[in-house]
């Protein structure tokens, strides 16, 4: 273990180097961050054995990843924002073909207007593509999660993306405990493929036409893999925790035990929000926080367990569903709680779009609003925090 100062870009690129994938196909144009550029210098310097394929678009990048993974290779790539949106069509194919590809994703806003700063619109856009999604709170977690994701993907036979907030994490330097190369290799183990296109003794056909009589069965099988993924994710996280001391779950509860009011966040905002919770606790408010780390598969059980005894919940979304109802995380958290007899009231708070800063005072305002709502004050179901009114 060595302590280094790294940005999330650098930390994720280092995780890729230590994983030493067989193939990386990428198209690092703006708004992609420097992850692929850093990784390509590792290729140039001979620090990895990777076949680096520079393609002409993100669509081609994921297509090449799919081909390589189908041929039995361990495959990774990296992208951001528009790049992920351009991959969209092919992301579904990677998932349905059950190929264990890992993307290091930096969360940046989708156009228009053009913006390269943090929000979650890019990964929320592909939340139903069949990929596992892990949202990191800090660069250490981004680094650790990339290593875990490779193992998870190869055990669940589902592709996985690990995301870190644009600029806030991607370009900010942080203290990182890095594992030794050998530790990473020992942890991820031998590469596992669901099948191998190049096995001439067992020839297979990939991606044939699949009509009314089989398509549904294949989708049901994919759904089953996602249903089983939580166990795989927890098992890999436990093993990681035991070996290296840093523990991760599907969600993280912070001062929720006796909380009456809670907010739900994903990504780096959890750091600011934890400080805000502490500040408000000092003032005597019974507040707490739930951070969703793994958004796909959706950890409904854990969320319900954490929130069912709270009076009011404010779900903070760094992406707007633009559906005139509520943000994507809000929609799902609220739906998960529906089954409970005694359930909290749940409100949606969209914030931080296009990198708009979120300060403790903004989070305090969310708490204040849900506390006021509890006292009978009428507030909107969908609220926008930090926008000029």
């Amino acid at each position: 273990m060595k302590v280094v100062a790294k940005t999330a870009n650098e930390a994720m690129a280092e995780a890729m180097r230590q994983i030493n994938p067989d193939v990386v196909a990428a198209y690092p144009i703006t708004p992609a961050t420097e992850i692929v550029q850093i990784f390509s210098s590792f290729v140039h310097d001979g620090l990895v054995d990777t076949e680096f394929i520079a393609v002409e678009s993100e669509h081609s990048a994921m297509s090449a990843c799919i081909g390589a993974a189908a041929a039995g290779a361990r495959v990774m790539t990296s992208t951001s924002s528009q790049g992920l949106a351009l991959m969209d069509e092919v992301l579904y194919i990677a998932a349905a073909l059950r190929l264990p590809i890992v993307i290091c994703e930096i969360n940046r806003a989708l156009s228009a207007p053009i913006n390269i700063h943090c929000d979650h619109s890019d990964t929320m856009n592909v939340r139903d593509s069949g990929w596992i999604q892990i949202y990191a709170e800090d660069s250490q977690e981004a680094y650790d999660s990339v290593i875990q994701a490779m193992k998870i993907a190869e055990e669940a036979f589902l592709p996985a993306m690990v995301t870190a907030d644009g600029f806030i994490l991607s370009h900010a330097m942080q203290r990182i405990d890095m594992l030794e190369d050998e530790e990473v290799q020992a942890f991820i183990g031998e590469h596992k493929s669901p099948y191998n296109l190049l096995d001439i003794y067992n020839p297979i056909t990939i991606g044939p036409l699949d009509l009314q009589d089989y398509f549904f069965e294949h989708k049901r099988q994919e759904a089953d893999a996602m249903m089983k993924a939580p166990e795989v994710i927890k098992k890999v996280a436990d093993e990681f925790g035991q070996k290296f001391g840093r523990k991760y779950g599907l969600v993280e509860e912070y001062r929720l035990d006796d909380a009456e009011y809670a907010i739900v966040v994903i990504g780096s905002t959890a750091g600011t929000a934890k400080d805000t919770v502490d500040m408000m606790r000092d003032k005597g408010h019974k507040v707490g926080l739930l951070r969703i780390r793994v958004f796909r598969p959706f950890p409904a059980e854990e969320i319900v367990k954490a929130l069912k005894n709270v009076r009011v919940v404010g779900v903070m979304d760094r992406a707007d569903g633009v559906n005139a109802y509520g943000g994507p995380v809000f929609m799902e958290v609220r739906a998960a709680l529906y089954e409970e007899e005694k359930k909290p009231d749940v409100y949606s708070f969209v914030y931080g779009l296009g990198g708009r800063d979120v300060k403790p005072v903004d989070i305090e305002r969310v708490f204040q609003m849900i506390m006021d709502a509890d006292k009978g004050k009428k507030i909107d179901r969908l609220n926008y925090i930090g926008v000029r009114e």
């Binding site: 349905a96 073909l97 059950r98 190929l99 036979f157 669901p194 099948y195 067992n202 020839p203 297979i204 056909t205 990939i206 991606g207 044939p208 699949d210 009589d213 089989y214 549904f216 069965e217 294949h218 049901r220 099988q221 089953d224």
Partner: protein, 92 residues
């Protein structure tokens, strides 16, 4: 009986090479061509026009249809100069 989702190989792959030979593409037909041999003059117009090579020909004679592949488009019936082919509704 076709496989359940639990029995199929992972990732929608097909493990048996050449299995498409067993795929009978005629199963979406709603109408079936029927020949009246009395009227047929064996001009082979139907054989030329059939887009699915589903006209059975033996010794230069039109001998009926390959229903495994005939999609029921009705082109043969349309081009037949003697009206020897009739399209009949497929019963479910």
């Amino acid at each position: 009986m076709k496989e359940t989702w639990k029995e199929l190989p992972i990732g929608a792959i097909i493990k048996e090479p050449g299995s498409s030979k067993r795929f009978e593409t005629g199963d979406w037909r709603t109408e079936r061509p029927v020949l009246d041999p009395e009227k047929c003059i064996h001009c082979m117009f139907c054989w030329i026009y059939c887009p699915d090579s589903s006209i059975k020909v033996e010794n230069g004679k039109m001998e009926g249809f390959l229903y495994e592949y005939c999609k029921g488009c009705g082109i043969c019936a349309d081009v037949c100069p003697t009206k020897a082919i009739t399209m009949v509704r497929e019963e479910v």
